[in-house]
């Protein structure tokens, strides 16, 4: 009994419950048709949200006002950089991935440089950076029609017994992220800064370095995500990352991470990512129009946030 109550108190549980409910509703609608295929599709799409969601989670955990608004622009640019570096040949896949990673990490580092040098709120810093990155991408990626190398495209779509390999790798990555958060000095420092930046500083945490690492990590994850998206959707695109601004923030919050910082939740990111993707699948299955789908998605996100409620103000 006590263990059940403990389980119920886990904030990430609800996102998985939501995901299962949405799945059951859809399967009931189709009469059981395509139940397995839906899980496969949901897993392969949720991967992209989870990867950026983890990065955004670390940033948001740093405390109030910390959020990376440059992710969509970052993903767009990295997708173009990756495709250009790969140039459609299988032998360059690793080089392309590294290029996207470096591009994303550089953007993250620049973000923190702006925050640190101009002492401005991260929202404005990442916003200004995203304006500039977006223009670089439009200019650099114009008419870029390079297809991903066949090997890379196959890899991003590779499934073993109905489970996307990319999803398995992402599970391994999220486990590593959870360990880093709870068991490593880096993760503990992030949590400490989010709970009380001054106390963390007095306790000897190198606040500047940890924040720098976190923004760089988030940028790098955005970069990798861009490369993978370009592989999955067979081509780079300026708008490829647009939906990931809302998605990355939404999965973090729905997954039980505190927006006030200092409390992070890794499993919840997966639950929320699956929930959002399955929700879209459900609305598509029900055959609603694009307008209704957008309205319902928005209302459900607002509803979930309202139900989850905010923290009691600490101040």
């Amino acid at each position: 009994m006590a263990s059940v109550r403990m389980l119920l108190e886990k904030p990430w549980l609800w996102s998985f419950v939501g995901a299962v409910l949405v799945w059951v509703a859809t399967v009931a609608f189709t009469g059981g048709y395509g139940a397995g295929g839906m899980v496969t599709a949901a897993l392969s799409l949720a991967v992209f949200t989870v990867i950026v969601g983890i990065g955004q989670m670390f940033v948001i955990t740093l405390g109030p006002g910390n959020v990376d608004l440059s992710l969509p622009a970052n993903i767009g640019l990295a997708s173009a950089v990756a495709m250009k570096a790969m140039g459609g040949s299988d032998s360059m896949i690793v080089v392309g991935l590294l290029a996207a990673l470096a591009c994303g990490a550089a953007i993250g580092a620049i973000n923190y440089l702006l925050i640190w040098a101009l002492r401005i709120p991260p929202i404005i810093a990442t916003l200004s950076a995203s304006f500039i990155i977006q223009s670089v991408d439009i200019s650099y990626g114009r008419g870029l029609q390079i297809k991903p190398p066949p090997g890379f495209a196959d890899f991003t779509n590779w499934q073993v017994m109905g489970i996307p390999v990319l999803a398995m790798l992402t599970v391994v990555f999220t486990v590593a992220a959870a360990l880093a958060l709870q068991r490593m000095i880096y993760g503990r420092s992030v949590l400490a800064i989010g709970q009380n930046i001054r106390a963390a500083w007095l306790a000897g945490v190198n606040v500047g370095r940890i924040r720098f690492l976190t923004y760089t990590l988030c940028g790098a994850l955005g970069g990798i995500d861009g490369a993978l998206l370009a592989g999955y959707f067979r081509g780079a695109n300026v708008d490829i990352g647009n939906e990931y601004l809302l998605a990355s923030i939404a999965v973090v919050v729905i997954g039980g991470t505190s927006v006030a910082g200092g409390k992070a939740n890794v499993p919840g990111v997966w639950g929320a990512g699956l929930f959002l993707v399955l929700l879209l699948t459900m609305l598509n299955t029900f055959g609603v129009s694009a307008g209704v789908r957008l309205v319902l998605t928005g209302l459900i996100i607002v509803g979930v946030i309202t139900a989850a409620g905010g923290e009691k103000a600490v101040r």
Binding site: I249, L294, L299
Partner: protein, 325 residues
């Protein structure tokens, strides 16, 4: 720096220095606008004329109104990431119902302001992060806009077209409108006693609550004002473009935040400036397209220009603030 009335302030006293830095800081928005204007005048002197301003500042009115809308939520330490799609939604209502069935149109627009007020209440009562709530709402407004106007089209009501193409003597209409907006909001927010309370809700909410003011009410009023100015922005936009599109306002979310910050606003502490916000919006409107066109920079870099201006002005602000210490 010494050009600023060196005789009137006591020499090198710390308080004098601080006052000078603060004054410089509050002049920064106006200085950046002047700089952009000077650059335009140097590149193309003919642009500085009645018709030139009418053309260049064509879209400045809706941008200024959206910026003011954003300023109200920022005054209460919140952020509205849905203002862009809301402006688009209002645009679609204006180009369809407001023309064909004015009563329904007015009711819908008033209702949408009511939705904003409700959001303010919800955010306060449940202590929700406004970023997430408004991000969710941005989907709702966008979806509604697509439902109202699936394809670009519609037509602005004639009276709206007449207002927006008004040509006053000597002063170009956008400048007149900007002055009017800035003056009205400045008076309401900075010079009335309830305006002080509204800003105080962002500055020190606990003190206000102890003094007996309802924080729920201030939040509702701030969000309703955001809705009101969002509606005005959408209507002004359609009055200029004459027809609507569900995505017409999408860029306004980021522009409006940038405008508030350029105008000297801060994210926390209820420190905002209506006059600054309008100046910030004008600077962005001028710098994004006319300046770049005159400099023969391709339109690809328009968005980057906004980012660069933001960074330059914030850097200047940091330099000035160091002197303030």
């Amino acid at each position: 720096m010494t050009a600023l009335a060196p005789g009137t302030l006591p020499k090198s006293s710390p308080r004098g220095n601080a006052a000078r830095a603060r004054m410089l800081r509050s002049l920064l928005p106006a200085l950046s606008l002047a700089l952009v204007l000077m650059a335009i005048a140097w590149l193309n002197p003919r642009a500085i004329s009645y018709f030139g301003f009418n053309l260049m500042l064509n879209l400045a009115i809706p941008i200024a109104l959206a910026t003011i809308a954003q300023m109200f939520v920022i005054a209460g330490n919140e952020l509205d990431l849905s203002i862009g799609t809301f402006v688009g939604f209002v645009g679609c209502v204006t180009a369809t119902w407001l023309r064909d069935a004015p009563l329904i149109g007015v009711a819908v627009l008033l209702g949408s302001i009511g939705v904003y007020a409700l959001l303010g209440a919800l955010i306060h009562l449940r202590n929700l992060p406004s970023i997430v709530v408004t991000l969710g709402m941005s989907f709702v407004w966008q979806g509604l806009a697509i439902l109202i106007l699936p394809k670009p089209g519609g037509k602005a009501p004639d009276w709206l077209l007449a207002i927006m193409s008004f040509k006053p003597p000597y002063i170009p209409f956008p400048i007149l409108a900007a002055l009017l907006i800035a003056a009205i909001v400045h008076f309401g927010l900075m010079r009335t006693s309830y305006g002080v309370i509204l800003r105080g809700s962002g500055g020190n909410a606990a003190a206000l609550r102890r003094a007996g003011w309802s924080l729920l009410k201030t939040k509702i009023v701030l969000f309703a004002l955001t809705g009101l100015f969002g509606v005005l922005s959408g209507m002004a936009l359609i009055g200029i473009t004459t027809s609507a599109d569900a995505n017409i306002g999408n860029g306004y979310t980021l522009l409006s935040i940038a405008g508030v910050i350029l105008g000297g606003g801060e994210f926390v502490g209820g420190r905002v400036s209506p006059i600054g916000a309008v100046i910030g919006a004008l600077t962005l409107a001028l710098a994004a397209s006319p300046l770049l066109t005159f400099m023969h920079i391709p339109p690809d870099w328009q968005v980057a220009a906004n980012g660069a201006i933001l960074i330059i002005v914030l850097a200047a602000r940091v330099l000035i603030s160091r002197r303030e210490r």
